[in-house]
Symmetry: C2
Subunit: 512 residues, 2 copies
């Protein structure tokens, strides 16, 4: 007997072999999205868009439960608006799509060329603080008008030079919340509240464990006083930001003239916040739960929960199997999982083993095979996406229907537990500069793409130390954890770069 | 006794006094939307956006019930893509927002100027046939891949010179469906099926009666073989298009290379369709149901169904009234109307009569006043938005809860019936050229803004006659009614312009 062969994988290369290429291949094999002919823009295919719709539904319901209302503001922002907040325009000027003309006409060489130059260029929104601030300045007059709690679901454009589907695209879909308050305390509380919403979305619905923290001044949103974030660990041990919530102080209120009369009839600037999450989360889902056979979708946001795969060798068997399958689908669809009915796909394609593999690659939580023998036994043959693809169990039909929500919960929890164990396994308290540098430098044996992790190390607060580490290792401070965000010893110590006193550990990592 | 005064209206001017200005004032008073500082773009405020969300929910469910799946395609279209279909680019070249640069940098005068010129200009999508066609050309190889049924919810930009909130804005929100089929018959059937969906949306949900028809060659979508549409009558008797469905033949399949191998392994071009409806529908809602006190929202799409208005003169009364109000709200919210729970607002503002008027202007279907006397009688005091604002009735609390869905149905039906009666009253069979010209020319006694209506007159099919009438009167052929769309005598006759034989009557009107 020879050495046991590795089981064949549906995705090639595997994560170990070439992580970046694995990611691209998973996106393709799972049918979530594809590159478009427009530089840096993606096409979100139906399976991927349905996943986004489910994320939107959950997040939108959580926003509304906190009193937020949706609205819609212009796609275009006059250049002069962006310039009102100096740090803000500085942060976005290098990656703006600029509209300069409003029609096309025949050029000297016969083809169409831009015509009708605009007197003021318009920027396609990279974010909407300034244009929404303009509306707030009209809506808000008195303390009685506050708070104003608004969210917008929209597309935004940031002209990225190196793009990667879902993770970094020139156009992406997101939501941006914008609120205005009478007091600093209330605005701070809202900033924190929305971070909790993103935490719940990530952990409960996407099964992605996150660390709550605050950005350093160097990593803050341009124009913010404070940026809170939730950081997740991908399978190459890099960090991905899964949501941010900014306390903007009175900066944007000053820039946009958002003033109100307080109870003493004195004029004050409002305190504002903004917070957002985007289609980047789908990249995070893939890199948290994907394996060498494709993606694994958490049941709470999966476009469909279960696929029924009828097995019939001829018309006679088909006449037996199909009514059983349809009746099972009907019974499952009457049940709910979370806020949605159980979503059932039926795949009758006659393409052999490729059929089951298609659904494995697409990450559907449950595959159910149904043939004449299963029907004779009043049972179904069930495979879970979080288990080995060869592990399938025969379950009585009635029991499967009765227990499907428990099974889905079990998958949801298994994904979260696995991801949390991975994050913990690659999070290390580190106090020695040399071991810190070794940690973030791939050894000869390691694949350069997969190494390191989260280092919990001290930082004195000096931007120079932050910059030195970034330049040496490509490692940045992902966040200064909020009190209680981590169990480890977070007390004071000495800066990993310069040794000077540091009030607490921070999370260092390479990042997307 | 002097002459009876007209009751004061909440909107000034009234429809009779100045229809265009009435429209602007209703949009403002109802808090649906406002103009933005960006030329031709609007800000959709929470009340208006929630209305749009409800329209989206209904339409999206209808699309999905026909097998359509949502996806998302790039905002930007390379100029060369638009140029692939000659009529198409011709139709949109005059009103395109063109992105020519991808960053901003300090200019000679210190301010920021566009930099990083693009090698090929990008057009902000005015519609997406060409960019979606590119994806279809990759997705479709065999007849087994067909049909492909896709819809996109998106923003689009058409640089309009004269804009009007909701009705004609440079940026608007819409959905655009795009399908590809193996046969002409199937594509034609889909074109017709989606027209039926728009009819159902308009009549059942928006309470707007429509006439189904087909556009003349001159009014067709640029690049389409056939454009079907539904046309509604506004209160100034002009027509508004409430949805279009285009049969594109093989034009866009040829332009984008959408080919498939048929069952005989021969290569064929696919047959495609596209269909859309937009935030313009909200303009249609306002102009169909609005009155001199504001808008009236059909219950099926209203952001909220009922507002509870507690009446308490002091803290003691408030302590009595508020628990009753909260309990009533709870009981109502447990019920459903259509696919949504009953949506209840509670307005506790202490602003006197302005409170009730705010909700009248905003068009909420039901206003319910609750004071100590109502509570003593176990009743509530109910005003319907479709009745005179002074007409309110006392109803037992239990009966109100039990019957609220019937009351909402009654309002929904009343709005539709009223609009249908209006449309019929201003639709006239007309066979004399002189009376036709008189019909569309305001007399001295008439306000120039409100006159005419729909003329059902004969047209020989000659574009010259269509153009002559358009130039003389500003009147166009809104549609050639589909068989059965109208009850009137639709048989052959003589052209209203030239007298030559005509196969059937068409709908002439001034239009938005």
């Amino acid at each position: 007997m020879g050495k046991q062969q590795n089981p064949k994988t549906a995705i090639s290369p595997t994560r170990e072999e070439d992580y970046s290429e694995w990611y691209q291949q998973v996106v393709k094999a799972s049918d979530l999205a594809e590159k478009s002919p427009v530089r840096g823009c993606m096409v979100i295919k139906p399976w991927g868009y349905s996943l986004w719709e489910n994320i939107v539904k959950e997040l939108d319901a959580m926003f509304k439960a906190t009193g937020v209302k949706n609205a819609y503001f212009p796609l275009f922002i006059p250049l002069s608006f962006l310039e009102k907040e100096a740090e803000h325009i500085e942060g976005f000027a290098k990656e703006c799509a600029v509209v300069t003309h409003h029609r096309l006409e025949k050029g000297p060489e016969g083809g169409l060329v831009p015509a009708g130059p605009l007197t003021e260029p318009l920027v396609v929104r990279p974010t909407s603080e300034t244009i929404i601030g303009d509306s707030f300045s009209k809506w808000i007059n008195s303390y009685r008008d506050l708070p104003v709690l608004i969210n917008q679901w929209a597309n935004v454009v940031r002209w990225e030079m190196r793009t990667r589907v879902f993770l970094r695209t020139s156009e992406f879909l997101w939501q941006e919340g914008h609120t205005a308050h009478a007091t600093e305390e209330e605005a701070l509380a809202r900033t924190r509240m929305m971070l909790d919403v993103y935490t719940e979305l990530a952990e409960k619905h996407l099964a992605i464990p996150v660390i709550k923290g605050r950005k350093t001044a160097g990593e803050r949103f341009p124009g913010a006083v404070d940026t809170l974030c939730v950081e997740a660990m991908m399978q190459d041990r890099r960090a991905l930001q899964a949501g941010t919530s900014h306390f903007l102080g009175q900066n944007f209120a000053r820039a946009s003239g958002i003033r109100y009369q307080d109870a003493n009839e004195e004029e004050q600037f409002a305190w504002t916040t903004s917070w957002g999450a985007s289609t980047r989360l789908i990249g995070g889902l893939i890199m948290t739960h994907g394996d060498d056979n494709g993606i694994l979708l958490p049941p709470r946001v999966a476009p469909a929960h279960v696929v029924l795969l009828p097995i019939a060798r001829n018309a006679e068997e088909s006449a037996l199997v199909m009514p059983y399958v349809d009746s099972l689908a009907g019974a499952l669809r009457e049940k709910h999982y979370g806020r949605r009915p159980i979503e059932v796909e039926i795949d009758t394609r006659d393409i052999g083993g490729a059929r089951g593999w298609d659904w494995i690659k697409k990450g559907i939580p449950l595959r159910v095979e149904i043939g004449p023998r299963d029907i004779a036994a009043e049972s179904v043959f069930v495979g879970r996406r979080d288990r080995d693809h060869r592990e399938k169990v025969s379950v009585k039909r009635g029991r499967f229907i009765a227990e499907i929500t428990d099974i889905l919960d079990s998958i949801q929890n298994a994904l979260f537990d696995r991801a949390l164990a991975f994050q913990k396994a690659h999070t290390t308290v580190m106090d020695e500069k040399k071991s810190f540098y070794d940690y973030f430098t791939p050894s000869d044996k390691e694949k350069p793409e997969i190494h390191g992790g989260f280092a919990l190390s001290h930082w004195c607060g000096d931007a120079a130390c932050e910059t030195a580490i970034k330049e040496d290792l490509g490692v940045t401070i992902r966040c200064i954890p909020l009190p209680g965000a981590l169990q480890d010893d977070m007390g004071p110590g000495g800066c990993i770069a310069c040794g000077k006193p540091s009030p607490q550990r921070v999370v260092f990592a390479k990042a997307y």
